[in-house]
């Protein structure tokens, strides 16, 4: 396992209104975004963070539900919805996920197997609705893991431990697409560090390596999840993006763990 290179792939920022959130984040940081990506009933505004030495061409996906009809027909508890409703800062914005990347499908399979799961299928061509799509018709094929049988994550792992992803199409990576021009836009130069909840022991156990040596992570011992992301800026001061993590607002995980809907 020590030979697997694990990097920061992306961060999910849940929003009640991805449009408002993206505009506000840009006013706050100077980091612009591009629009139009979606998967099922979720819309994403994408914020490239640059290609630094640690956060390999990472990005933020600002995501929100866009289909009220689908949402109202859901019967399973919706963890993200409940957390977004509870948070009162930044119009509800929350860090909803840290996603790590590996460089090959074999690496992804090895990571998933070690954690007792498997990986999602490579079905982007036969089931595009389950994959990210862009307005030009491009479908972003990727695979993720670990996927646990029946959706039941072993109880030893908190809900917001990072997922692992393999994106085979490097030129079309989200972080390489052009953002919308804007006055005073800044050019990001990569993720410098992140603050994550929990401890290095916990994340290292999950990653199968010394997390602090593999990715630029600091720990605050609080609820598991992303708390801060520091982004380098060409010709300027670093930007630190602070939002609350989802787990801060979910006091009882049990009803979500028993739900067929992924957390």
């Amino acid at each position: 396992m020590g030979t697997i290179n694990i990097h920061i792939n992306h961060f999910s920022m849940g929003a009640r209104n991805a449009f408002e959130t993206a505009a506000r984040l840009r006013n706050e940081t100077g980091l612009s975004f591009w629009t139009g990506e979606w998967v099922r009933d979720t819309s994403c505004h994408m914020v490239p963070l640059g290609n630094g030495p640690h956060g390999k061409d990472a990005f933020i996906e600002i995501q929100c539900s866009v289909d009220a009809h689908a949402h109202l027909k859901e019967t399973a508890p919706n963890r993200r919805y409940d957390a977004l409703l509870a948070n009162t800062e930044n119009n509800g914005d929350l860090w909803t996920g840290l996603m790590l990347g590996v460089d090959s499908r074999a690496d992804l399979e090895a990571v998933a197997k070690r954690l007792g799961g498997d990986i999602t299928p490579d079905d982007s061509r036969i089931n595009p609705y389950n994959h990210f799509q862009r307005p030009n018709g491009y479908i972003l094929g990727y695979q993720g893991g670990p996927r646990f049988s029946g959706g039941q994550r072993p109880s030893k792992w908190p809900a917001d431990m990072p997922g692992f992803y393999y994106y085979p199409d490097v030129p079309n990576r989200t972080s390489y697409q052009q953002v919308v021009p804007w006055p005073h836009m800044r050019t990001p130069s990569g993720v410098k560090w992140i603050t994550f909840g929990g401890t290095n022991e916990l994340l290292s156990d999950w990653m199968g390596c010394n997390a602090e040596e593999m990715i630029p992570v600091k720990f605050n011992g609080k609820a598991v999840g992303t708390w801060e992301v520091c982004v380098g800026i060409e010709g300027g001061a670093d930007v630190v993006i602070r939002r609350n993590p989802t787990a801060l607002f979910i006091t009882d995980e049990s009803k979500y763990r028993n739900s067929p809907r992924p957390g």
């Binding site: 009640r16 449009f19 009220a68 509800g92 799509q133 307005p135 030009n136 919308v180 804007w182």
Partner: protein, 251 residues
Amino acid sequence: MQIRLNHFALGARNIYEASARLLKETGLGHQTGDWVGNTACHMVPLGGDVFIEIEGTFMSAHDFLKMPKPNYTYDALDTDNEYNGDHFTGMMLGVDTLEELEEIGKRLGGGVTPNWPDPYRHFQRPDGYVRRFQSAPYYEPGSGKSRPRGMPNFYYYPDIPGRPANQPVWSAPHLKIPTGVKWIEYGGTEEEMSAWLDVPKASDILPFRFNGKAFGTWAVCVGVEDGDDIVIRRPPTAASIKEASIYKSTQ
């Protein structure tokens, strides 16, 4: 006064799915990222300064649930059809000056919407551009007046280069280039629309075809360069709302 087509509103449960499906159906591309309040719009230029705004409420998990119920548009979109619930939710006509808009608003017993200083009440684009507009007829809240459902309202867009119809669309394979609206199938009758527009014959100034059914847009025919005309058919919201009296009047 010249009255022309400005745009059509196409309500969707999921505007991303709806615009991708419309692209496959017609070859007409769209812009993304336009939004106003809690509504997101994908814009589909049709040629000749006219466009479709595919609109959907987002914040669905939050603000939407706080909106007054019953909700006329939501309930129409919740009606299943062969287009995943898509409905034409409006036809908007355009005039060339604020004075003309005020004249129409006055004739219809109201006024025009204020030029709201708050950008949150106007369409915004990802580049920060705020597209200001005013519309009529506008009735003050609590006045007891409302526009008949399904009848078009009127808009004045002062920034012509900034109109959605003049913005580039996302590139996609097999895109077609639209050349303008050739005809519109609309509910009601020639007489009813002529009275609303205050003209002798509505179909003399706009390419209407009336079907006598519920008010609203039923079909839009768009010409394309080097190809057959495209006909976009969706039901109007009024066709799916059998008992409108339970809904509060809206602007």
